[in-house]
Subunit: 240 residues, 2 copies
DNA sequence: GAGTGGTCTAGACCACTTC
DNA sequence: AAGTGGTCTAGACCACTCC
């Protein structure tokens, strides 16, 4: 006798996608609960979760820890090779940017940092941690390292001000070159908690080294982005 | 009476990671079967799979469809803003590159392609599909679009030759600018099958528009990379 | 043919959010 | 207090790979 075939995760994906694409569930809309979806589609919660994770993987939806699943808003365009600040990008694209400084302190460069910043091990560095969001949603964490000898009184400055503007205007530094690295990583437990993301959540990892006219590394920066929040755009002009 | 606490996915992650980091399981090594791991650690297969997926998310391991889980080899460094060909990159970094042409045909530009290539809708384009691997492992799929009017006899050329070299040497084209877009996407069912990846597998999506001296889009390219195979490096020089 | 990963079922408990 | 997502158990069948 014929057995009712299982509802597959792919079918659940289709069901959810059609509602997202039709606009029935707009940006930032909360999806129904996992149990509600599995009841409606006559399937198990495991299958629903599998479908949700696939839509999460390509950035159509995201989750906020234990609060539920939400439709992902449009991604922000971002060119990490430019020194323009995040706030400017976000405003240009019609978003409301938000920055919070989580921590700032003086540290001694360890082996790894010394290599990245081309300084001797033990050199004094200023370390800043910030988180940033758009439209009320946290989208990335940032770890910034600056040579303390180049910015002697920076630690006194208000941390919310744009760093790149400050470096240029206040210290008269000119940027000569930026080296950018982009790869996939996963959030540490502490990072995931700040971004309200699940444990082990995959993220974009972007690191940037900014060099000045003399070839000194004036800024070293590590960013951890929600992967659904970001569209990286880089334009490269070839020399004549 | 005390109940034995559950083995958590995080503990399984730790168990697996320590064996990878210690070198007990080297690059490309096959992990034990999911059932063997769950038996050894006295846990369920679901928990083991959860752990494996977390290590997959940050690129430490990867799976080849239905064949098993493997330790991910070192990532290849890649600068999409340069026109150097993949083969050269791979050889410089000590890998054995591999390219296969999957398809080539003439098409009419649809609305989307016409916009991307700045040509009229219906313009004749040459479409090439290739897959590429290093050390015997497929790492990305590529869809290339070229204006048929600029390369009248290209369809007759051997497809394995480096395209960028050919464009420069044979046609004397000079590259002026490259616009690169990078984001996260997921593989279609057809793409996943070619890369031997699971359904809905997340990937790096890289699209590139290459412009010549006259500002014409001479190449438009879409790449779908296994996310664990890639480390993107871009260097940007600021104008004086 | 044996074993594997891919998928699905039908529960369960906990920590946390929301009301 | 009710409901949610996060996690875990203990099975099952299938399609596929490998031998």
């Amino acid at each position: 006798m014929p057995i009712k075939p299982h509802v597959t995760a792919a079918q659940v994906c289709g069901f959810l996608e059609s509602r997202i694409k039709s606009g029935e569930w707009g940006a930032e809309a909360k999806l129904p609960s996992e149990r509600a979806i599995s009841d409606q589609l006559q399937t198990s919660r495991v299958t629903v979760r599998e479908a949700l994770k696939r839509l999460e993987a390509n950035g159509q939806i995201y989750r906020s820890n234990r609060r539920g699943w939400f439709v992902a808003p449009p991604r922000i365009d971002y060119d990490p090779s430019r020194s323009a600040h995040f706030t400017q990008y976000a405003l240009e694209q019609g978003y409301s940017p938000y920055t919070e400084c989580l921590m700032q302190r003086l540290i001694q460069a360890d082996d790894d940092l010394a290599g990245k910043m081309a300084v001797a091990e033990g050199t004094q560095l200023l370390e800043l941690h910030r988180c940033r969001g758009i439209n009320g949603r946290l989208v990335y964490l940032e770890e910034i390292f600056l040579r303390a000898d180049l910015w002697p009184d920076l630690i006194e400055q208000p941390p919310d001000q744009s760093l790149s503007t400050m470096l240029r205007n206040h210290y008269g530094q000119l940027f000569k070159q930026v080296d950018v690295d982009i790869s996939i990583a996963s959030l540490s437990a502490a990072q995931a908690e700040i971004l309200q993301a699940p444990a082990g959540c995959s993220c974009f990892y972007i690191s940037r080294r900014t060099l000045n006219q003399e070839g000194l590394v004036i800024e070293y920066d590590r960013e951890y982005w929600r992967h659904d929040a970001l569209n990286i755009k880089v334009t490269h002009q070839f020399a004549e």
